[in-house]
Amino acid sequence: MDDQNGMTSSDTLQKIADQEYRWGFVTDIEAETVPRGLNEDIIRMISAKKNEPEFMLQWRLKAYRHWLTMQEPAWANVHYPKIDYQDIIYYSAPRQKGAAGDGPKSLDEVDPELLRTYEKLGIPLSEQKRLAGVAVDAVFDSVSVATTFRDKLAEMGIIFGAFSEAVQKHPELIKKYLGSVVPYNDNFFATLNSAVFTDGSFAYIPKGVRCPMELSTYFRINAADTGQFERTLIIAEEGASVSYLEGCTAPRRDNNQLHAAVVELVALDDATIKYSTVQNWYPGDKNGKGGIYNFVTKRGKCAGKRSKISWTQVETGSAITWKYPSCVLLGDDSVGEFYSVAMTNNYQQADTGTKMIHIGRNTRSTIISKGISAGHGQNTYRGLVKIQKGATNARNYSQCDSLLMGDQCGAHTFPYVEVKNSSSRLEHEASTSKIGEDQLFYCRQRGISDEDAVSMIVNGFCKTVLRELPMEFAVEAQKLLGLSLEGSVG
């Protein structure tokens, strides 16, 4: 009776899996690029374009020389053809007025085509339209093109804007903190990033200041054959707090593009950093052609006592995701959190999770991971909870749930635990479930359409993570997950 009945549950899931990527357009804009390939000259060229001080160039070169000795990691549960690192363009920037390395002074100097691009993406930058309560740094390919609300933030001593600008204006902060959480020789992709990173966001919240608005970076890849290597550094001084959001999209293209970013967070005594990501890079088409390789290193250091770092991520895009936002819990009584929703459709692959490194006493961490697999998607949770010798009374709670839609996809869980202190307490819970035909039918029998029913069930599954997102992002994230606007978050 299927034909009389309308859709079966697998049809519904397929329909949702087949949804078009709505951010796949290309902005036609003149770009300034460096020649294809990677060598020391390219790195010098990038550094020169950014007008960087000598210490920065030397740091890049040190990283590059080290990278040459490294092997691309193969331990992740993802499969892709070998990347030719000489076939990538490492720098691409829209041509703009003003001196090299200097961001535009005002929006008047920004190419209107760029403003239109961000407007189309739902991130209006102009004074009249910009989002209330959210300061946005817009990064387009290799450069930051605009940052809103800078002056207002500056009044409170908060520095927020392009990383390349911070290198010039606040070299002492960069020297002190760059590489302090993710060292230049950390891993293959982070080391590559250290050599060739182009732009990203920098935020500094001074002592005792609670940042009055959400800070946000919107990353956009536009140019073809380029890699995006952004670097983000956020520092919260004693007693400071900040909530930071990042979003990302890319055009639809048939070839894969590499995105290898590094994010470092530093929280001093009593500081709190909340970092939220809605990752929606182009995932490739339904046959697995194209899409972004999202190989990202994100790590936060709870350097101070009672400091707290919280990662929340909603990963719906990218052909391959390889990222483990982690916390080093150095300060006594510090807290690390990781809330994640990773969704893989079609032929997407995700290997994601976190590392919680407990070093200080009474350190606590929470891991909530929700993996959703549809189509031929493969979803892996990989996590490490490490309790060092001195981490007396450390606590961890981990929960990893997987939801399967259809019978072609996969869910995998690799939780690693290393404990060197017997006073610690760790809990781990895991579950795997399928969206049931009975759940869908129950919703439909109450008048709810099949699509809304799937959204509702997925939304319910992700609820404990979605409610960690700032309100504006929660709505965005729900839309991304194919959910209705009128969500049940909160």
Binding site: G447, S449, G460
Partner: protein
């Protein structure tokens, strides 16, 4: 079987003619006829495996049940052509024998979404959160439910009795024209049974028809039907007034199965 006349067709809420349906490749319903008019409550009784739940699922449009013959008219329209959600929006409600758990989705959210889907379908304005809450609070009283149930995940961690009360509560909110109660009494103790039955009775109205499916007669002590039908081997083999239920209870289904049909 007598063919329905034009006037009967007009007034019937549900008219089933010679319905045949398979489940899992096996023929379960083998020519079932039944007509229910607005305001009537019909009970379907029968032994396990007689096709009671298959009938409920076919009427609600569940996948996995193949209709191989016959017709079903709901308010004169071909019910079998409608998708499950369309049936629901048109006023067909199924109280599930085994209500489904949906983790992370609040009872309130599910039901408000359902009610608004029904209202949109009828061209009525959607209710907002406050209006919905007011309505829900009032209807919960029918089955003596606590408001906290609204905020709990759908059926998650509910006891058997709570799940069944929740079904009747949902019915009270959605205000259907045809309510199908699939073994609503199963798994209930006598107090819960009384609460559920009182809720159902409060929802009886001249505009609403009900089909009460049950294995045992005890539910029909509380919900007095206008007619009782005995389903056996995929067909209705005996129909009668409410008293028939008591007779069945005392004599058992074997008595019917061996007696000549009709």
């Amino acid at each position: 079987m007598t063919p329905a006349t034009a006037t009967e067709k007009k007034t019937a809420m549900l008219e089933i003619r010679d319905l045949r349906a398979n489940a899992g490749g096996k023929e379960i319903l083998k020519g079932l006829d039944l007509t229910i008019r607005p305001g009537e409550v019909h009970a379907i009784m029968g032994p396990n495996g007689s096709g009671k739940s298959t009938l409920a699922h076919v009427l609600a449009g569940r996948a996995g049940f193949e209709v191989t013959g016959g017709e079903v008219f709901y308010q004169g329209r071909n019910l079998l052509e409608m998708a499950p959600e369309e049936r629901a929006r048109e006023g067909v409600f199924l109280a599930f024998q085994y209500p489904v758990e949906i983790p992370g989705v609040s009872n309130l959210y599910l039901l408000k979404s359902g009610l608004n889907a029904v209202r949109r379908h009828r061209g009525e304005p959607e209710v907002d959160a406050m209006e919905f809450l007011a309505l829900a609070r009032e209807r919960m009283k029918l089955v003596a439910m606590d408001e906290s149930f609204l905020h709990r995940a759908v059926n998650e961690g509910f006891s058997g009795g709570e799940k069944k009360r929740n079904e009747i509560f949902q019915m009270a909110v959605l205000d259907p024209k045809l309510a199908i109660l699939d073994e609503t009494d199963s798994g209930l103790d006598i107090d819960a049974l009384r609460i559920v039955a009182e809720g159902v009775n409060a929802l009886r109205s001249p505009q609403r028809a009900m089909l009460v499916i049950t294995h045992y007669q005890r539910l029909l002590d509380y919900i007095i039907p206008d007619a009782v039908h005995v389903l056996s081997g995929g067909r209705i083999v005996l129909s009668g007034p409410a008293e028939l239920a008591r007779e069945l209870e005392s004599r058992g289904y074997a008595w019917v199965e061996t007696s000549p049909a009709q």
